[in-house]
């Protein structure tokens, strides 16, 4: 029985949320394709401690390769392990997260295997006639969508974060955990890590936040972003920005949301003083609910927003913060 294989790279911080999302995606694929098993290739140092979590969220079988050598930048070694796993389980489909590691490994693996690949997917459907998977993905900066098909011995797809919700945890769920014997030659990895600088950030990261509050040109300067930070703290969300604040240095470039920045799909996106340029909208096309606060009622953002407030954010946001604090109780 050929399976659906999910790639997961665990780190010192544990399992990325995207792994559970991909298992949920694999479960949906199984429902459509029928009679498949959901397998996970779980790599990384101390990865075995994450195997049960994957089973509790829907995986049938977890193949674990635990080695300190399996770091995000040692892509040659990751590829070597993956090739061995694929040879062993011959999956029909392999799913990757569309992040830095998945974005490099997935196409390289596809090239090695001569396999078709579709990247940055947000969904899929099964063609009733041909029984082929049609992978759905945004193109042209989110202005259009495309259904693509991958041909070859195996299909490879990468999925955007939050395209799927993890399945609820079921601790009674049973599955098989297999340790893989991996012998890795560290010298085979040509890329080495010289330095790693990470700022300590309080709260939730933009990529993982369910609620994102963003400021645009209308914020007028860097100081105003502290109000958005306050709101993010109360709602347990994260703060982002459109291009003008990032280009003007009001916020670090890492906060930029849009085609050339982060592409997010939060549950709730609150855009403050953002007009809604196409390049920004490309970053939030998959947001489930969009709220816009802008004093210009003709701003394009209101064409895509579900809820809108036409007024000066300086009046609206402080009242919104007070009311949220009362309602949420933080």
């Amino acid at each position: 029985m050929t399976g659906i294989l999910v790639f997961s790279l665990a780190s010192a911080e544990g399992l990325p949320r995207s792994s559970l999302e991909l298992v949920a995606a694999a479960e949906q694929l199984r429902e459509k394709l029928g009679d498949r098993i959901v397998q996970v290739a779980l790599l990384g140092q101390g990865a075995e401690s994450c195997a049960e979590t994957l089973i509790h969220h829907g995986a049938d079988e977890v193949l674990v390769a635990s080695s300190p050598e399996l770091q995000s930048y040692k892509t040659e070694l990751i590829l070597e392990v993956l090739e061995a796993v694929i040879e062993r389980v011959s999956p029909a489909v392999v799913l990757f997260p569309a992040d830095t590691v998945g974005g490099e490994i997935a196409p390289r693996l596809a090239y090695r295997l001569g396999a078709g690949i579709v990247t940055d997917c947000v969904g899929f459907e099964l063609d009733a006639e041909s029984r082929r998977i049609r992978w759905l993905r945004p193109v042209y900066g989110g202005k259009a969508m495309a259904y693509m098909v991958a041909n070859g011995p195996v299909q490879i797809a990468t999925f955007r974060q939050r395209a799927f919700e993890p399945l609820p945890e079921d601790t009674s769920r049973q599955g098989k955990v297999q340790a893989l014997q991996v012998e890795l030659e560290p010298a085979m990895a040509p890329v080495s890590l010289v330095e790693e600088v990470r700022e300590e950030v309080e709260g939730i990261s933009l990529d993982e936040a369910e609620i994102v509050i963003s400021g645009g040109r209308g914020m007028g300067g860097p100081e105003a972003f502290s109000e958005l930070e306050t709101m993010a703290e109360i709602l347990q969300g994260a703060v982002g920005s459109s291009r003008p604040p990032a280009d003007s240095g009001w916020v670090p470039h890492a906060k930029l949301i849009g085609q050339t920045g982060k592409i997010l799909s939060p549950n709730l996106y609150i855009a403050v003083g953002i007009s809604g340029a196409p390049q920004h909208m490309a970053g939030i096309a998959a947001a489930k609910t969009i709220v816009a606060i802008n004093k210009d009622e003709d701003a394009p953002i209101f064409k895509v927003a579900h809820l809108g407030v036409v007024d000066d954010w300086r009046q609206v946001v402080p009242a919104l913060i007070r009311a949220c604090r009362e309602l949420v109780g933080n």
């Binding site: 196409p107 090695r112 041909n151 010289v194 790693e196 709602l235 394009p300 407030v309």
Partner: protein, 288 residues
């Protein structure tokens, strides 16, 4: 497979008359894609659902956003270490426009890879075309690609090329600093950055950040660039057979999603009241 086995993809020799004599200079190749200006308003964006592509209309052709950043990274590195930047693109005749822009920005040499057989190929075929052109160029230290094209956004060209050439691949870097036979690469990550090191030659994909904002070419540079002839290499000249074959990546359907969102405007006598009402509505919808 090692580089030698792949056919001698190697590094550039030190030119004797270089102003950087005594230090090793670099040869960086940048692979560009020319696309329809992605900054146009959504209302002007039209597609041909049969040909499954964007309708160009009167819109300008530009270098794809991330490829422009890749070119900037290459030019910055060359300015530090000396050497040259070569820009490649696969396109029809109109591709010379992108290459003239590349020259104006700071590329030293350009090549247009153009052949009627090139248009039907998918990313696998395009990779073989680029690899064949790189073999013809002979010597280089780095190949840079944008992290993804601004139209189809597959983001596979860089990693594919690394595999085809048998070279190390480093994804999503913002800067490179070649030094003798190695390179340091800065990669932005969540809340910070990593400095990675790799041997030359290598393939990297470039993402944007504040350090690689593409420069605007001067009017003088543009004038000088358009006077330069753009060499064209055909399939025969680079020794590649890019006929129609079973595409591994197939675009089946292209459509503009209908957004049937009607914005619900929150009322109130003042901005403050609207803020309070918004909070209540968000609570009602269990969004907060």
């Amino acid at each position: 497979m090692t580089n030698e086995e792949k056919g001698g993809i190697g590094r550039a020799a030190q030119p004797l008359n270089s102003p950087f004599a005594g230090r090793r200079t670099v040869h960086i190749v940048v692979c560009l894609k020319q696309i329809i200006d992605p900054e146009i308003a959504p209302s002007e964006f039209q597609i041909d659902p049969v040909c499954k592509e964007q309708i160009r209309g009167k819109h300008a052709l530009v270098i794809s956003t991330f490829d422009e950043h890749a070119l900037e990274v290459a030019v910055q590195a060359k300015e530090k270490t000396g050497g040259k930047v070569t820009a490649l693109t696969i396109a029809g005749e109109e591709g010379s426009e992108a290459l003239h822009t590349a020259l104006a920005i700071g590329a030293d040499e350009v090549v247009l890879l153009s052949d009627p057989t090139f248009s039907d190929t998918d990313s696998f075929g395009k990779t073989r075309i680029l690899a064949a052109a790189l073999h013809k160029l002979g010597e280089f230290d780095a190949v840079l690609c944008g992290r993804q094209a601004g139209d189809v956004e597959l983001g596979v060209t860089g990693p594919f090329l690394a595999e085809e050439l048998g070279l190390p691949c480093i994804a999503l870097v913002a800067n490179i600093e070649p030094d003798r036979d190695r390179v340091r690469l800065r990669r932005p990550v969540e809340n910070g950055y990593e400095i990675l090191e790799a041997p030359l030659p290598f393939v990297a994909t470039v993402t944007n950040d504040e350090s690689n904002v593409p420069r605007l070419p001067t009017v003088r540079a543009i004038r000088a660039a358009v006077r330069k002839a753009v060499p064209i290499w055909t399939a025969e000249e680079i020794g590649v057979e890019a006929g129609p074959e079973a595409a591994k990546i197939e675009l089946q359907e292209l459509f503009i999603p209908k957004r049937e969102v009607r914005c619900e405007f929150i009322g109130g006598k003042s901005g403050q009241e609207k803020g309070e009402n918004l909070a209540l509505r968000l609570r009602e919808l269990t969004l907060i």
